[in-house]
Amino acid sequence: MIRYVAGRWGASAALRAARIGGGSLPELPTSSGRSVVVRGYAAKAGEAAEPSFYEFRDRKIPFVSQLDIHEPSLTGGMPCFRVLDETGQCVLDDASAYEVDEELGRKMYENMVKLQTMDTLFYEAQRQGRFSFYMTCFGEEATVIGSAAGLDFKDHVFAQYREHGVLMWRGQTFQEFADQCYGNHRDYNKGRQMPVHYGRKDMNFQTISSPLCTQLPQAAGAAYANKLANYDGITVTYFGEGAASEGDFHAAMNFASTLACPMIFMCRNNGWAISTPSDEQYTGDGIAGRGSAYGMPAIRVDGMDALAMFHATTIARDYVVKNQSPILVEAMSYRTSHHSTSDDSSRYRELSEMKAWKARDPVARFQIWLEHKGWWTEEEESVLRAESRKAVMKVLDMAEREQKRPLRDLVEDVYDVVPEHLEKQYQEIKEFAKKHKHLYPNDIPIE
C-alpha cells in the first residue's frame, strides 16, 4: 500500500527547520555529487501543498525534482576491524577494550593449535586411505575459534561444514572426531554421514547438510522458533561467500530481517568457493555490504585475527540479545586449504598466492601476541604441539580398531518407528546372519 501524503513531514530536522523558517532551500547530497533540491515545502498560501514525501510504510522518502542514477560506491566500502596486524602486533593505541585475559587467551590459542594439528594429521590419514574424506580449515582457525569463544554454549549453531572448531571449543574430543570420521560403533552419527559432517544435539550443533546454504533459512526458522519459545540463547549460522550466492541466502536474510530473528549470520569470506574466486562470485561491497539492503546491521572483521573475531562476535551477540533481531558478520580470511580431499586447488590458483596467505597464518599471529603479553613461552609451544600430535595419532589408531555399528542400525531412524516392511527385512537379515556366520563380517554386531 502506497500513500502520497501532502504536508506530512519526515524526521529530518533540517527539512523541518527549512519548512518552519520558510527560507532557504535545503540541499541533500547525492551519490553523484550533484546537489538535489527538495521540492514541495514552498507552497504559497492558498495553494494546495505539493506532496513532499513518498510515505511508504515506515519510510518517508523525500521527493526530488532532479532525476539521478544513484551509483554504488566503487571505492571504500565497509571498513574491516582488526586488533592485530599480520605480524601479531597490536595496532590500536588503546587496546584494553579489545583484549582477552590470560586464561581465555591461552584457551583460544590451545584450541587453534589443536585444530591445526588435528586437521594436518586427519588430512594425512585420509590421504593414506585410512578413511574416505576430510576437510581442513587452514587459514580460518581464528575465524572459527574466535567466534566460537564469543558465543555461549546454549547458542544454536547451524554450520556449513568447515566449522568443526566450534565443536572442539565446546568440548568435542579428538577421539569423538576420529570416531565420526571412521564411522565406528562409537560414532554419534551412527556411521551414516560423510566424515566431517558432524552434528550433535547435546552441543547445540545442527547436523551438517551437504547441499550448500540450506542451513541459512533453517537457522532463521530456528531463531524465530527460539524467540517464540523465549529460549535463552541465540542462533548462529556459518556460511561461505560462495554460499551467499544461493537463493537461500537472500530468503534467509529477508526472513530473519522481517521476522526479527535473534541470530548472527556469520560469513566466512575466504576468497574461494572450490575453484571460483570471490571476485567472480559477486560484485559490490562483499557480503557485509548486503546487510543494509535487508535493513540488517553488519560488521566486517579480519577473520585471521582471533582477538578481532572474538570481540566482533561478542558485540554482535550482545546486539542480537538486546534488540532481538539479526546481525550480519563478514569475516575476511583466506582458504589456505584445498576445498576438500576431493580437490586439488593448485590447478586453479597460483602457488605464490597460497604461499603469501599461508605466511599470514592466524595461529602464529595470535601466538606472537600471547608471547608479547608474556603469557606463552617457546617451551610451552613445543610441548603443546608435541602432545597434540601424539594425542591425535593415538585416537586415529584407536578409532581404526573399533567395531562398526550393529546390524539393527540398518532399519532405524528412517521413520520415528521402524515400519513393518523394514522390520520384516531386518528379521530376515538377522536370521540369515546368525545361520551363516562365515558370510557375515565379524566387526558388525548382529544384535
Partner: protein, 358 residues
C-alpha cells in the same frame, strides 16, 4: 579491503590450454560416454549459435566431470557460462533465456543439487507453454549425473527419474551407452520442449561401440522410443541408464539356466514407450522392471501399470520389480552396495517370474 580484494583477484591465467577432443571420428570404433556427450554438445553448439552451456564449473574447470571439456576454448565465455553457486538462481536465469528464444543447456553438477531449482523446473519450465496458451515455449536441456554414485552418502546418491517423469510438460531422457548419449542429447537440444537429461556418473568413463552412423553430426534418436537391446522369448527385462548394462549381464546368466530374456532400454522415461513394452509382453508373457530408484511410485510402478493396462491378458506371472532399497542411501561402502540392484537380483527376479525359483 582493497589489498585483500587485489589478492583475491590474482588468478591462474585465463582459459588454460586443454586437449580438445579430436573431431572426425570416421575410423573410431569405440568411445567413452564422456566423449560422446562432449562431442554431441560441441556439434550442437557449432550448428546453432543459440545453444549455450551454463552451470557451476563448466568453463575454466572444464566441468566437474569434464563433460564440457574444451568448450570454453572453442566457444568463449559468452556461450560457456560459469555461474555463481545458486541452482535456484541460475536455473531461473536459464528458463528466462529459454523463454526469450535461446537454447540453454544447463549442467547441474549432479541432479541432487537441482532440488534447489525444482520450482523453476516444474512450475516455470514445464508449465509455461500450457499457461501461455502455446505462445511461450522453453527449449531448454537440464543435464547432469543422476542416480546412485559411489561413496557420497544419502544426499548425493539417488535417482530422480520417477520425480521428473511424473510431471507433464517435461520430457525425461536417460541414456545408457554412446549411441544413446549422442543421439538423445542432440535430439534433446534440438527439441522445442524442456528436457531433463539424466546421465550417470559411473557410466561416464565406460567405452561403448560406435560406428559412422552414430558419429554423424546429424545423428539423433527419436524421443519417446525405447530400444530392444537383445531379443528373447521367455521374459522381458525393462531398464534404463546403468541398469541396462546389468540387465544385459543378467541375460548371460539366465541363458545358462535355459531362460531366454529380452532386454528393453527405455531411453525415454517420459513420454514412456508403452507400445514397445506391450509388444514384448505379448511375446514373453513375463516382465521384470529394473531401476536404482526407490520402489514406491517408481518407474517400476509405472511399468507395472502399463503391463496391467496394456497386456494384462498376456501375463503369465505377476510383474516383478527390482529397485533400490527403501531407505536413504547409506554411506558405508558395504551397505551402499547392498542398497542397489545387482545382476544376481535381476536373475533371481527373472527366475521368479518364470516360476523357476527354489
Amino acid at each position: 579491503m582493497n589489498a585483500l580484494r587485489r589478492a583475491f583477484v590474482t588468478r591462474v591465467a585465463k582459459w588454460p590450454a586443454v586437449t580438445v577432443v579430436e573431431r572426425g571420428y570416421a575410423s573410431q570404433t569405440e568411445m567413452t560416454v564422456r566423449d560422446a556427450l562432449n562431442s554431441a554438445l560441441a556439434e550442437e553448439m557449432r550448428k546453432d549459435d543459440k545453444v549455450f552451456v551454463m552451470g557451476e564449473e563448466v568453463g575454466e574447470y572444464q566441468g566437474a566431470y569434464k563433460i564440457t571439456r574444451g568448450l570454453l576454448q572453442e566457444f568463449g565465455a559468452e556461450r560457456v557460462y560459469d555461474t555463481p553457486i545458486t541452482e535456484a538462481g541460475f536455473t531461473g536465469l536459464a528458463v528466462g533465456a529459454g523463454f526469450s528464444g535461446l537454447k540453454p543447456v544447463v549442467e547441474f553438477m549432479t541432479f541432487n543439487f537441482a532440488m534447489q531449482a525444482i520450482d523453476q523446473i516444474i512450475n516455470s519450465a514445464a508449465k509455461t507453454l500450457y499457461m501461455s496458451a502455446g505462445t511461450i515455449s522453453c527449449p531448454i536441456v537440464f543435464r547432469g549425473p543422476n542416480g546412485a554414485a559411489a561413496g557420497v552418502g544419502a544426499q548425493h546418491s539417488q535417482c530422480f527419474g520417477a520425480w521428473y517423469s511424473s510431471c507433464p510438460g517435461l520430457k525425461v531422457l536417460a541414456p545408457y551407452d554412446c549411441e544413446d548419449a549422442r543421439g538423445l542429447l542432440k535430439a534433446a537440444i534440438r527439441d522445442p520442449d524442456p528436457v531433463i537429461f539424466l546421465e550417470n556418473e559411473l557410466l561416464y568413463g565406460n567405452s561403448y561401440p560406435v560406428d559412422d552412423k552414430i558419429l554423424d553430426v546429424d545423428f539423433t534418436l527419436p524421443i519417446g522410443k525405447a530400444k530392444v537391446m537383445r531379443e528373447g522369448t521367455d521374459v522381458t527385462l525393462v531398464a534404463f541408464s546403468k541398469m541396462v548394462g546389468y540387465s544385459l549381464e543378467a541375460t548371460e546368466v539366465l541363458a545358462e539356466k535355459g531362460i531366454s530374456a529380452e532386454v528393453i532400454n527405455l531411453r525415454t522415461l517420459r513420454p514412456l514407450d508403452r507400445e514397445t513394452i506391450m509388444k514384448s509382453i505379448v511375446k514373453t508373457s513375463r516382465i521384470v522392471s529394473v531401476e536404482e530408484g526407490w520402489p514406491q511410485s517408481g518407474i517400476g510402478s509405472e511399468i507395472t501399470a502399463v503391463a496391467n493396462e496394456e497386456a494384462f491378458d498376456h501375463l503369465d506371472a505377476p510383474v516383478e520389480r527390482v529397485t533400490g532399497a527403501d531407505i536413504p542411501t547409506p554411506y558405508a561402502a558395504n551397505l551402499e552396495k547392498s542398497a542397489f540392484p545387482t545382476v544376481d537380483d535381476i536373475v533371481t527376479a527373472a527366475e521368479r517370474a518364470c516360476y523357476r525359483s527354489k
